[in-house]
Amino acid sequence: MAFENFAAFIDMGGYAAWVWTAYGLATVALVGMLVVSRRTLKARTREFEEMKANRK
């Protein structure tokens, strides 16, 4: 463990703003991609099923 306590961990040696923004944005980006991709997949699957049903 590189930090003495939780406050030091949050403070990041005075660079909290930079470090946490970087990690925050990275999380948003990765989770965002995951959510968007899954949503399109679901929407497409639904569209395809509907199309199949209509054709029959």
Binding site: A2, A22, A29, T40, T45
Partner: protein, 250 residues
């Protein structure tokens, strides 16, 4: 090789490895995040900001790797007309753009405390920015045509021509003397740079691995939806084709 050109076969393999890739990805993140944020020591020069590096370098690696994948698939698509190669390239591009943006932003967030400025016009930064524009151009071009096949091919050509930029990004720190850090991985192999210690390399590699697995897992998901989109388009086309030779009533 040609076995992979068949969408059905390709997806069978992709779906089979998907759970493994996703599982490894979760495990790697579970290891990488705590080590990167808590257990690794601060750098003697850069202090705690070194933790930005784990994300910065991982995203930078991903953006270059993804561009390489897009370029290779574009070549396969143009030469052998493997439709699957095209779908891989199309599905990857938005992810590449996101990782590229992430590399740029984390670089800027690191640059402000380290260099005292968000941005300088040095070779690596400029070439990374150009890569970002190439991603945006690729995505815009692929969607710019009524006829989607034209978009695929135009974008593939752009991807191939743009691939000169990737080595430029990588070697820019050696070709021009810049503000940006030289390659740490190579330096460490030769044991030159004492600042690059295994305590830093371990979380870095873990994070890079996690990002890479994340990309491959998501790629499988995105391929499934690209394939569905193609099927839907195809069905629509054959629906209207019946009417296209329509005639006035006799």
């Amino acid at each position: 090789m040609h076995k992979f050109a068949n969408p059905t076969q390709f997806m069978r393999i992709a779906n089979a490895i998907y759970p493994w890739v996703a599982g490894i990805c979760v495990l790697l993140f579970a290891a990488a995040i705590p080590i990167a944020l808590m257990f690794s020591p601060p750098d003697y020069q850069q202090g705690e900001t070194v933790r930005i590096m784990y994300i910065h370098v991982s995203s930078a690696w991903l953006m270059m790797m993804i561009y390489g994948i897009i370029a290779a698939n574009s070549a396969m698509f143009l030469i052998w007309r493997h439709p699957m190669a095209n779908l891989v390239a199309r599905a990857s591009a938005p992810m590449g753009a996101v990782f590229c943006a992430l590399a740029l932003i984390t670089g800027m967030l690191w640059g402000q405390p380290m260099w005292g400025t968000f941005w300088v016009w040095d070779a690596r930064l400029t070439s990374t920015l150009i890569l970002f524009f190439l991603y945006i151009g690729y995505i815009a071009l692929a969607d710019a045509f009524e006829d989607s096949e034209r978009g695929d091919k135009a974008a593939a050509i752009l991807a191939l021509v743009g691939s000169v930029n990737v080595p430029i990004i990588h070697f820019s720190v050696e070709w021009w003397n810049t503000l940006h850090q030289p390659s740490i991985i190579k330096a460490s192999k030769e044991g030159v740079d004492s600042s690059v210690h295994s305590s830093i390399l371990l979380p870095l590699f873990l994070m890079m691995g996690a990002f890479t697995m994340f990309y491959f897992a998501l790629l499988v998901l995105r391929l499934r939806s690209e394939l569905l989109a193609a099927k839907i388009r195809n069905a629509r086309l054959s629906q209207i084709a019946g009417h296209s030779a329509a005639q006035p009533a006799e």
